[in-house]
Symmetry: C2
Subunit: 368 residues, 2 copies
């Protein structure tokens, strides 16, 4: 009786999806612990109910994970897609120096979720189960409950009625809390601040390059969770918490778009310029391997522009005693915030030979 | 240099989209007021920062608006899509009896946003501008700031590399606050409670039927914002606030899936059954018109199963003095919550002739 928007379906019914949306929600709800702590009411009502600690600010971030844009089903196993989806949100929480409170997931799924191109279902278990294996393993590690969200069936016809395979779309929402007024902001860098990054850079894009160059090897290595900066990025929650509790940092951002782009964000929001020291930028071994293999002209390029490393960049005054490791993660000073100079770019790179040149924001940008 | 996931683009560059994602975000940011009140930091950082009133619980809800699933670009003008996107979230806030605090929007847009099928751009202004006209007009009315979100370019190839037109996907996140412990929950109905609904039902689905039956007339009426339950649903925020402040209601839900389905949600979460009085169900004039026009066998069917009316259903004890109007909106008693009886359905309908029959949940369900 209800009028429907979509064209009639010509596809065969799903093998892996539960019979209905309510069944899907019930299946998710079953895997999620009962609300406790700051989460009062979770999945099952019109909205979730949370109690934010009274002395804290609430921080909120949302991030899309779209098939064919942020992941490919023939490259990324479901566990990886689930992990990365949540890690994107957690990394933003980390960049604010906040503690994660709760996650919300809006998930749109096609009617058919078999292995694309093969016509076969995933052999072991359904795609959804494995997606939540990856998602909830990371959620458990950071004690962040899945508190709600939305589900829908992905469209399979475009406006001209042309049929195409439905694509997965996920939007992750993360809530976090941080002591009032203490969130690490992009806008709080000061001239003279030293610029630091966590970990090593360029590894995520080097690993993704491998997927295009050697898909079989890439598929094989997705089974291990060790040292896969692209497949299993580690949100730097503990580093962010230490930076805030020690009151050491002025400004912070996570490296999602790439160092050159994200540092430009800090410059713009703080009204400053920045100079990077090329020799000081920590390069991930996978990026160095990509240079040795001749896949890229320079590993430094991947570290500067590669993106999706999900490491943190922060600035702190020179007199701050920033240790070499925070929460077990290497911390590297890589440059300095400066006041603007006429006819000089916002971000410049000082090369090993002392030559200084403008560093264009070369990170990933949609709509570019 | 950065490896890219998507297939090379063969489409022509966009006419209406700004040059890049940063330009798009800047354009949105320009239309949004500077943070004030409980919103401390809005668009422009890794996350937004909010201060939730100390005596309040926080409520959070997310809702997808997907092209070809929830709207069609040849039926719905951009202002309508923007309005409905936000109204979905606000209606959930209303159902909890909460006051909206902030909205977050994740928005995925195709490279081309011209009028589908015509090859022409929208004549007046760009699709995005008009979407935000609708979105922000409703946001202003309820004083809810757009505090952040995400943007992406919609995929245009499926897994087999088949090109299709990119589709719009929006995910709206609403935060609200309500006095601690006072949120209206689906699970708090009690046996003997009277069931009430706001407004009249079946109008939204009747109006959507008109789009399929008489697209030209439908297009013409989209220009007016008066009495369009499908195009411009009104979230019942003020009713929800009054119900909570007066402590009159036990349980609440918004009618998004349809009365029969949403009442079943209340029954399931409260562990109860319900009986509806057919003669008492308020039927929207557009639903009655649809019956007279022979589009549907009965207007009551639309009111029971039509969905997307975004009215509120709530339960209250018999001795509560529920007025006939709350915040200017008609309130109708339509039935009663009951304890379960063996061999009787969760929700039953008492017809005008006294006959009682099981009422199947016939509302909209994805994956059905």
């Amino acid at each position: 009786m209800r009028p429907r928007l979509s064209q009639p379906r010509r596809s065969t019914p799903s093998r892996v999806l539960p019979a209905g949306e309510r069944a899907l929600i019930a299946a998710i709800r079953q895997r999620v612990a009962r609300p406790k702590g700051s989460l009062r009411i979770g999945i099952g009502d019109d909205a979730a109910v949370l109690r934010v600690p009274a002395a804290d600010d609430l921080i909120v971030t949302t991030d899309f994970s779209l098939e064919q844009v942020h992941f490919r089903r023939d490259w990324h196993i479901p566990e990886v897609i689930g992990h990365r989806c949540l890690a994107r949100g957690l990394s933003d929480v980390a960049a604010m120096g906040a503690r994660p409170l709760a996650a919300f997931l809006s998930l749109s799924l096609p009617a058919e979720l078999d292995t694309p191109g093969t016509g076969k279902s995933w052999p072991e278990r359904s795609w959804i189960d494995r997606f939540f294996d990856g998602f909830l393993a990371l959620a458990d590690r950071y004690k962040v409950p899945l508190a709600g969200g939305d589900t829908a069936q992905s469209p399979e016809f475009d406006q001209r009625g042309r049929k195409h395979a439905g694509l997965i779309a996920a939007d992750i929402v993360l809530l976090g809390s941080v002591r009032r007024g203490h969130a690490l902001l992009r806008s709080r860098a000061r001239a003279g601040d030293v610029i630091y990054v966590t970990g090593e850079l360029g590894g995520a894009s080097a690993e993704l390059l491998a997927a295009g160059r050697d898909p079989d090897r890439f598929t094989a290595i997705t089974r291990s969770q060790k040292n896969h900066p692209h497949l299993y990025p580690e949100p730097r929650i503990d580093v962010g918490l230490k930076l805030v509790s020690g009151k050491k940092a002025h400004a912070g951002i996570d490296l999602s778009d790439g160092l050159s782009t994200d540092l430009l964000h800090v410059c713009e929001e703080s009204g400053l310029a920045a100079e990077l020291d090329a020799a000081a930028i920590p390069i991930h071994p996978l990026a160095e391997q990509a240079e040795r293999d001749g896949w890229v002209p320079s590993a430094l390029g991947l570290a500067l522009h590669g993106g999706e490393d999900y490491e943190l960049l922060f600035t702190a005054p020179k007199w701050s005693r920033i240790p070499r490791k925070i929460a077990g993660v290497n911390i590297h000073p890589i440059g300095q915030m400066q006041t603007h100079r006429r006819r000089r770019a916002d971000v410049v790179l000082r090369e090993r030979d002392g030559h200084v040149s403008a560093l264009d924001a070369g990170g990933w940008e949609h709509f570019s």
